[in-house]
Symmetry: C2
Subunit: 345 residues, 2 copies
Amino acid sequence: MKILIDAMGGDNSPDEIIKGCVQTIDELESEIILIGDEKIINEKVREFYEKENITEVNSKLSIKNASEVISNHDSPTEAIKRKKDSSMVVGFKMLKEGEGDVLISAGSTGAFMVGGLLLVGRIKGIDRPALCPILPSHSGKGFMLIDSGANTNCRPMNLVQFAQMGEVYMKNVMHVENPVVGLLNNGAEEGKGNELAKETFTRLSENETVNFYGNIEGREIFDDLVDVVVTDGFTGNIALKTIEGMGSMITKLLKEELMRTPWSKFLAMLIKPYLKNFKKRMDYSEYGGALLLGIKKPMVKCHGSANAKIVKFTLHQAENFAKNNVVESIEKIISKEDMKKNIDN
Amino acid sequence: MKILIDAMGGDNSPDEIIKGCVQTIDELESEIILIGDEKIINEKVREFYEKENITEVNSKLSIKNASEVISNHDSPTEAIKRKKDSSMVVGFKMLKEGEGDVLISAGSTGAFMVGGLLLVGRIKGIDRPALCPILPSHSGKGFMLIDSGANTNCRPMNLVQFAQMGEVYMKNVMHVENPVVGLLNNGAEEGKGNELAKETFTRLSENETVNFYGNIEGREIFDDLVDVVVTDGFTGNIALKTIEGMGSMITKLLKEELMRTPWSKFLAMLIKPYLKNFKKRMDYSEYGGALLLGIKKPMVKCHGSANAKIVKFTLHQAENFAKNNVVESIEKIISKEDMKKNIDN
């Protein structure tokens, strides 16, 4: 397997991206191809190796030169069309041509999705690819939120395909034997929700390829009742970011309270290992990046603020994504019959 | 002021409701009228007073008999029409007739909203009343989430009115000088969002009565950037319940980690006061119940699982709601001109 990684995308690039790759290459079966400014990457790689006192660069780590960078300020569609020698666009082309098996980027989410659609292409029969992070659940098993923001406006057929794709990933990559799908809704009972949710409920109930739990409320998503939580990209994005916002508030509040007095600081120091484990269990970056499902080749969006540690998790995740035939299984499930059935709405 | 409270609604009724009232009556300027089975309430009130060794029941505490109870299993509309002598329906009638200034219930949310609409009535010009809790923010100031679930399908005019009503409440009751309104969206930039969010953005930008911040993402809502977060009831419900779910997972995980070894248990005991303060700061029940704004009289939905402590917060909140002319101020802001401007969409 060859993992392509955009070395120039994200808030902490290229340093943290490169550091993450250097630190992880020995753990992987795959090769890594770092895409971006060859000179800079070369220097940084050497620097990190020198720090570790290793003289010879791992031969599984190579560089593909790309002279431009797509930033978060660029219009995604414009950038994909114009910046033909950007690290991301070079990555898309290599992925398409089979010069790599999976593409990772911590750069612009918009450009990543547009590039996936336009330059790599959708799986035949898939109407809308979706972006889906794995989030922490109480047991530590985790669950997939699909779609977390690729599609602001969805039709019921899109949500059905999200369910199907989510199931495939959880089965093939996360090795969940019979993944269960829940529909994110404002009530548990049948008949709840907006028009999209109501119609999707009916279709998921009737769909034989989906192991459907029924509606699931926001307060239950962490309870390990389902493996895949299906929703449209608008709602999913708000749920995801609310989780992020709350996580960050909680971390701040906990810190503030524990730093309140010299005595509490002392106790906090003693209790730190336990709090660290607590933080680890609620930290979803440990589950890797967000998958872009529905594209002909595996693609993983790494968090924009990713550090070397998160890059490490994402590399492992990308390797598993690439080697577990997710695309092939999705292609199989979205058969021509399903296509016909769904296409009229 | 007279506070009407449904003594029979909620998971812990009537005990915790009555206990909350008995424990709070001395702190309030208002009278409390407990609505429900007279015999049971009388007994319970006496019981709680005896426990405190008080022989004379506070004369500000009285009882209004109601023989029926609306449960969560009842269809809201049916229940409101049929159970005419239920504690909730009796409450609606008393509120409408001016026999009380504000109504609290921990019972069925659906019945509470339907009863408010049908038996108490909307403020003239308000298209859709909304349910809105005050949620904890980082500074402790809190923010209002409106609508958190009363209206699954909304039009832009509804969200504009939610913004107006939210501002009035935050100003009159929470004494925020110039409350700022944010539109919950899947991106900060103008032009983001589904059709509803886009059109609402334009209208809020143009509306002179609203102090509009712009779009706000889920990850920023706890950051004290805005006082009112406006959204439709479907999205708001999912955001609210996701917050609840995450809060509950975090409490569980923290407990599990701190109870892991005898040593961590010991440390946890010492650090408890600080953790208690942390919990208090992220516990939104301390902000009271969810307000039902847009109804002709003040109404507060108390959490279904409310205990005496939460009832206490809700009683104080209800008193403040009733005495700060919220309904009158909303009536003023929703002038006939606004009505005309908004009514065509």
